[in-house]
Subunit: 222 residues, 4 copies
């Protein structure tokens, strides 16, 4: 039971208990909000919140994200292999937390506009958005005239290989576009993050809504 | 009143009362969840859960699936003709339970993406899906690269004839595709099942969501 | 205040109080259900239930259908002019109740699929549906192979003239098609009815859902 | 803290406390209703209600409109510069209240149909609607045959310049069309208003629903 959440954490002194409890509560709230929107159908999706520099709270594999219990959440140190019960995709979370110490939360969903648009944009390896005021809900975007780039990766069941490609791509400079706080896996869904749970939730909602706008708009534009 | 649910079951010693009560609760929960999604409009749809090898709990004909009462559920032995008050389509349930002892629950809905796509796919007699990560929510599917086949049958008011065609088709080998835990009736809706109520519910949500993705994707692809 | 509902009804001995209370409760429930689906936006729509051969309960003009109060409901005798506070469209209700003694409830909504499809079908003066199992939720329809005809009328601010055209059309024989328990006003919305409140609600949900199916299907068929 | 709401208002004797409390409650209710419809994603949108001739209550920048607290609402005198914590777009509210003493409430949302249609209509600088009964929910529109004009402005991060263009345009005579109680910012969203909070809410719902109808209808018409 060491990997399940308990108020008697075994993660060491670096994580105080209130940070752990706050992170677990953040995971539960994010899962419930996404389930309410039908963005995590059929136990899909996963959600993590950083506890401290070395540890995250993350959903276990195969659980209903709309009704998360304490036992559905793992306390995963970033420096060790994935704990038993982990989703294979947890590696996408841990690798990104290691690369980006500024990230406080990562949320992954199978929302409909993201999933469909990810496939349409897959051949180009990226999706470019511009002209939407809502872009400004993304950290670092100041105007609707900015070009926002969302990287799109081919889906892969080899998560280590995929994680390597994601990390390499996210380390590249963005060029003229502003790189969004999230990426798409083709035919799979959206990863979005933020410095805090609130920012990750805002980025998630902003991106899925922008994708809805874009999909609807494309039905009328050649 | 013998065919209505009662805690003093008349189904014989093979069904203990807790299995019966659990099955009835499963039917009620499945109906409510489907109604919440508007997948059983106008009293359509039907839901069954296996009690034991010989008996199922199944919704009566013409009742509101979002507010099922005990009297709306029949305890149907698999070896006898349909009880008074049954839906004609109950035969599709009983025949499938007899053929597939591994099935624990069968849910039928008139969800929009399933209903529309069933008509579009009817001429080919099957719908093929590939490239969606969510496919992996279907039992036996391990990769988005798998081809998932959903059989599509012409609708028929002669349920016995239809049931025979369904049973014959589901007994066929799947070929290169993985046959989904469900099928479509053209212009009618979706049947989905699982070993347990939870698995049937997961399959139902996964299939309808995959159909939504597919319908939306097809609007942009020739 | 004579026209507002009160448990001390002034409608005379023909309406007993329990019939009146039941009708008022039916109007309130129907309004709430439609508002929950966003089918009566911006105080649109109206709902009536028959109290007895000579009297109906009907929503007052311009009220929020999702939160109906007793004062929002008029007790309208069928033999007298519309009471103060009536919607102009109340005449479509009273005329139909007079023509059809079998009708127990009439519900009118501005639901999206009905409203859009009504305009697309307006040039032909009718909408024909076939091939949907859900058609069977309409009273008198026994098979998905039936052709269901929904009359479509040009919208008109002269409700008396419109009511006359509706009554004349509904008195015509249906030909090969089965005439639905409802009609469309082009660019306006749907009227649906039934012998009871439950049947009217079932017809309303069945028709709007059929229209959703049909609209989605037409996007893929020439 | 002078700019945050308090029952001990510092706005002077012109605003009595019950008018202030009513306006604040109106802002909170409008935000919650819009959030429920997903019209204010990712903390977008803003809502104001007039307290008296000289003062409004308006949402602070960057707050969740679905869960507004007293501290999220500013009491903004119309004659002074925007208070600290204001959204830049608050100027669109204050300028319009100064120009139109008859306005009691202004609501701004990023609803999907408005946002997408605003971009499609941007080249013409206006959107014309006709043929919808629901148009009559807009103040001053008496028939579905009326042509309703919704001005469409290019989006601009220079809110003062944008506000000037809006005020100039809204002061123009409407010509043959009836000018709607609202306007669109291209790729941004909808502003709608009314003499009271209830009227502004009705106009907002009517306009977004009309835009949904129009978008759906345009998919089938060349």
């Amino acid at each position: 039971m060491a990997q399940t959440i308990s108020l008697k954490t075994e993660c060491g002194s670096a994580s105080d208990e209130s940070a752990l409890a706050k992170a677990v509560a953040g995971v539960i709230a994010a899962g419930r909000a996404a389930a309410f929107r039908h963005w995590v159908p059929a136990t899909s999706g996963n959600f993590s919140v950083r506890i401290d520099a070395d540890t995250i709270a993350i959903t276990r594999s195969g659980v209903d994200k709309g009704n998360l219990q304490l036992a559905d959440i793992l306390i995963q140190p970033l420096a060790v292999p994935l704990l038993p019960g982990s989703s294979a995709e947890a590696e996408l979370h841990t690798a990104l937390y290691r690369q980006r110490p500024d990230l406080g939360a990562i949320f992954h969903v199978h929302s409909p506009a993201a999933t469909v648009l990810s496939r349409l944009a897959a051949p180009e390896g990226r999706l470019l958005l511009t002209g939407w005021e809502l872009q400004k809900a993304l950290s670092g975007v100041r105007t609707h005239e900015a070009i926002v780039e969302i990287p799109v990766f081919a889906n892969d069941q080899d998560i280590s290989a995929l994680s390597g490609r994601v990390d390499a791509r996210l380390a590249e400079p963005g060029g003229d576009a502003i790189v969004a706080p999230g990426y798409l896996l083709a035919g799979h869904g959206l990863y979005a993050w933020g410095a805090t749970e609130a920012e990750a939730a805002r980025h998630l909602e902003a991106l899925e809504t922008l994708f809805e706008f874009e999909l609807s708009y494309r039905r009328f534009t050649p």
